[in-house]
Amino acid sequence: MGVDRMFDHDARALTRQMSSMDSEAHLRSIIAALDADDAAQDAETEVSTGRDPTGRTPVSRPAAEQFGTWPDSELTQCLRQARQGDAASARRVAELLELTDQATAAAAWWHRAAAAGDSDAIIYIEGFRTT
């Protein structure tokens, strides 16, 4: 028996769960929840601050900072920690460099992370040797 066949039971169970769901009802439920959220926010805006003339909620800085500048922000942070010898950060630098098509620089960081003992980097290099 191969590895994949060992998980046949799990894969089939998941497929059964998917096919037993009522997709249309779920979609309707999501759209209704979004509508309700919009309606609640409209009511709140009118009561508390008066309607924003642009029709938009003010920009939430935390959300913008968290999701708007990725992956550059994470790369900067991880580089700093990796240079201080953190193995997991070195591996994350390798992942992010690879993601941004900087393969040569990424290769150096993969090996640096593996040498520092990061288990994911060791597995990655093991996989790379086979492909």
Partner: protein, 171 residues
Amino acid sequence: MSTDREEFDEFVRQHRETLVRYALVLCRDSHFAQDLVQETFLRMWRIRKTGDRAIELNRYLAATILKNILIDQLRRRGKEIELFRRMGETPTAILPEDPSDKSAAREQIRRFLEKLSAPLQEIFFLNVVGGFQPREIAEFVGLKPTTISNYLSGIRKLIKAEHPDLNDDNS
């Protein structure tokens, strides 16, 4: 209805099913998975409504939010000790009992997988249980497809090294 909302509804239609499958790999409960996906879209829409269109709607953002919600929900349910005892802070697929297979090999594989980091467990289970290809997994976890392929290849190679009696599925 605003243009923003129309775009978002279209995003929901395009990605709902894939996200449900993703959630199912993580939590193995269809009702819980559907609730997670609904809450994920709701939070994404709230982020979108901040007005910053630089925030791109994609599967990585959705998967990140979904995992955060899952962590919060499990903590609230008091299951974090059970589920996270060997996985740091990231919820990932737990290899469930397969009633049709009590073999020692499966138990050994289970123990091997438990030693992997949470992100690698997630990648592995998305592939073998969820049926996701490296390109799709890459969209969820924010990595390059080649990175995913190398991780999967490395995991399989290590499993084979520990269990040389296992056949190659492709042979």
